[in-house]
């Protein structure tokens, strides 16, 4: 609605808002480090196929097996002679994709449940929040494992399973904020001018909980990527895809530990840790930027 009104100056306003946001964000060392880490991994994922020759990952029997890092193989090779560096780069694509897609699912469900629950209250709230409680109290790892095992190992299923098990915390946060916003006078005013429930939720409550969704997304993304790795490591991943979790899985099951092949185990592990760290850093930084109470005076 009223798109013409919005479009005209939206661009300049966005620029204005973004530059003021950026000026605070860039003061935040933690946030900057997180951003740089993620930017590197994002570049790696996007440019992956151009950086490495995918054919290295096919097994042709000529290459050297379990080779420690040398000039030819910067990070060595695995038990099938696949290049570890190439695997890590290609694996970042699926790992990030799964993490982000699962985050989107999780945020959509969490926001929807949170707003509807907080807005309608009463029976709706009770039912939705009890369901949320179930997802909160059930240990998520076994739940994910059971679901992944039932649905079968495919990329879509992994995304679905992670998304469906990680929305509960978001729903709780969004609900509590909705409870506070729906009592504000402008919501009453919106109702007085004849707005329906859907309209109020979409146009009055959603824009007000948006900073919360934004900050939460980053933290959920970190958990989602970690979950993907965990599932794959435990053998519930898609064996046809190269992901960091699958690499760890094969490294572990093929005895990389007893063989002493540290070059096979460490790179994917370090990548996962760095990406999760990057998201977490940005999450904390966003919290500081978007929450004026946490801002330091000199900023």
């Amino acid at each position: 609605m009223n798109s013409a009104l919005v479009k005209q100056e939206t661009v300049t306003l966005w620029k204005k808002n973004f530059s003021s946001f950026w000026s605070i964000f860039r003061e935040n060392t933690m946030g900057l480090i997180g951003l740089i880490i993620l930017a590197i991994f994002a570049l790696m994922a996007i440019l992956g196929p151009y950086l490495v020759d995918i054919s290295i990952l096919t097994v042709d029997g000529v290459t050297q097996v379990m080779h420690p890092p040398t000039a030819g193989y910067v990070l060595g090779t695995d038990d099938l002679g696949k290049d570890i560096l190439a695997s890590v780069i290609i694996g970042s694509r699926v790992s990030l994709l799964v993490g982000l897609a699962a985050t989107v699912i999780s945020m959509v469900i969490g926001t929807l449940v949170g707003i509807v629950s907080g807005f309608y209250g009463r029976a709706v709230d009770t039912i939705l929040m009890r369901i949320t409680d179930v997802f909160l109290v059930i240990p998520w790892l076994p739940l994910m494992l059971v679901m992944a095992a039932l649905l079968g190992p495919s990329l879509g299923n992994i995304i679905f399973v992670i998304g469906i098990t990680s929305w509960a915390g978001t729903a709780r946060i969004i609900r509590s904020q909705t409870l506070s916003i729906k009592e504000r006078p402008y919501v009453e005013r919106a109702r007085a001018i004849g707005s329906g429930d859907g309209h109020i939720m979409l146009h009055h409550i959603l824009p007000n909980v948006f900073p919360l969704i934004f900050a939460n997304t980053v933290l959920v993304a970190a958990v989602a990527i970690l979950s993907e790795t965990t599932l794959s490591f435990l053998g519930m991943g898609d064996p046809t895809q190269v992901t960091w979790g699958m690499m760890l899985h094969f490294a572990f099951s093929m005895g990389a530990v007893s063989f002493g092949a540290w070059w096979w185990l460490l790179p994917p592990g370090i990548c996962v840790v760095l990406v999760v760290l990057g998201f977490t850093f940005i999450g904390y930084a966003l919290d500081e930027v978007l929450n004026p109470k946490l801002r330091r005076r000199d900023q």
């Binding site: 013409a4 919005v6 007085a192 001018i193």
Partner: protein, 322 residues
Amino acid sequence: MKLLEVDNLTTYYKLKEGYVRACENISLQLDRGEAVGLVGESASGKTTAALSLVKLLPENAIIKAGRIMIDGHDISGAGEEELRKIRWKEISIIFQGAMNALNPVRRVGEQIVEALKIHEKISDKEAIRRTAELFDQVEIDPDRVREYPHEFSGGMRQRVMIAMAIACNPKIVIGDEPTTALDVMVQAQVLQLLENLRRERQMGLILITHDLSVVGETCDRVAVMYAGQIVEDGPTEKVFSDPAHPYTRALIAAFPNIEGERNLASSIPGNPPNLLYPPGGCRFHQRCSEAKAGCRDIEPAITELAPGHRACCHLLQGRVKV
């Protein structure tokens, strides 16, 4: 035919302890282009009475009785769907505290466009054009429709609320303390604006306020409320110059006077009664300086002092002029 006729409107709030009799037997009339002031202390039921007209009440409110006629059309039995159409097209509200009645994260213009589009089937472009027009009418630069509420001053926000209230050309506007949080200069501007709009558009205006000077400046008639009841109503000049009810007299005396000697205005001793357990007889008898024995037990009847000037007090029984 009057524009608005309200008969014996009674609204209670249901609490665990019982019913709060927030407003009882309210009767009001309003002509086209007329302004009626609804005055009284805080918690005297002014806002409840006004919001009962459009049924914008908290969930625990119950409209016990009463008939509301707009243009001869009875809306007391209207359902939620019908009411949504009546609100804003027929009766609209200027909300108390404009500071909070605008959504801080949405553009001011958008929020008026929203009101227009809910009630009229018009294109975005048309709605934006109308919004700019409305801004012009409330004397705000139409270019500012794209700004956010925090970029507006208090007086301007109140103007925006007025623009929103008149967006769909309502016949009646209820102003719920529209100038309470503003300084006197801005207050005067906003009241002048309301006055002009009312005359131009022949709107009926119900002005809720506890500021008698505002009523004196803008309202043709005034209704004084005490403890959920209208104790006196009549032409503003008549009520102010010759108040019939002891409460009206006390209220006028309690109003500070800028001229003359420096002394504190006389307040009314005691507090308004708890409407959960309203006192018997006349509700004002505990605080009334002229109360007699009968005031405690017998509820006073309405006395018509002059055409259109009525009050509700035992002391008037002797001086009926009709």
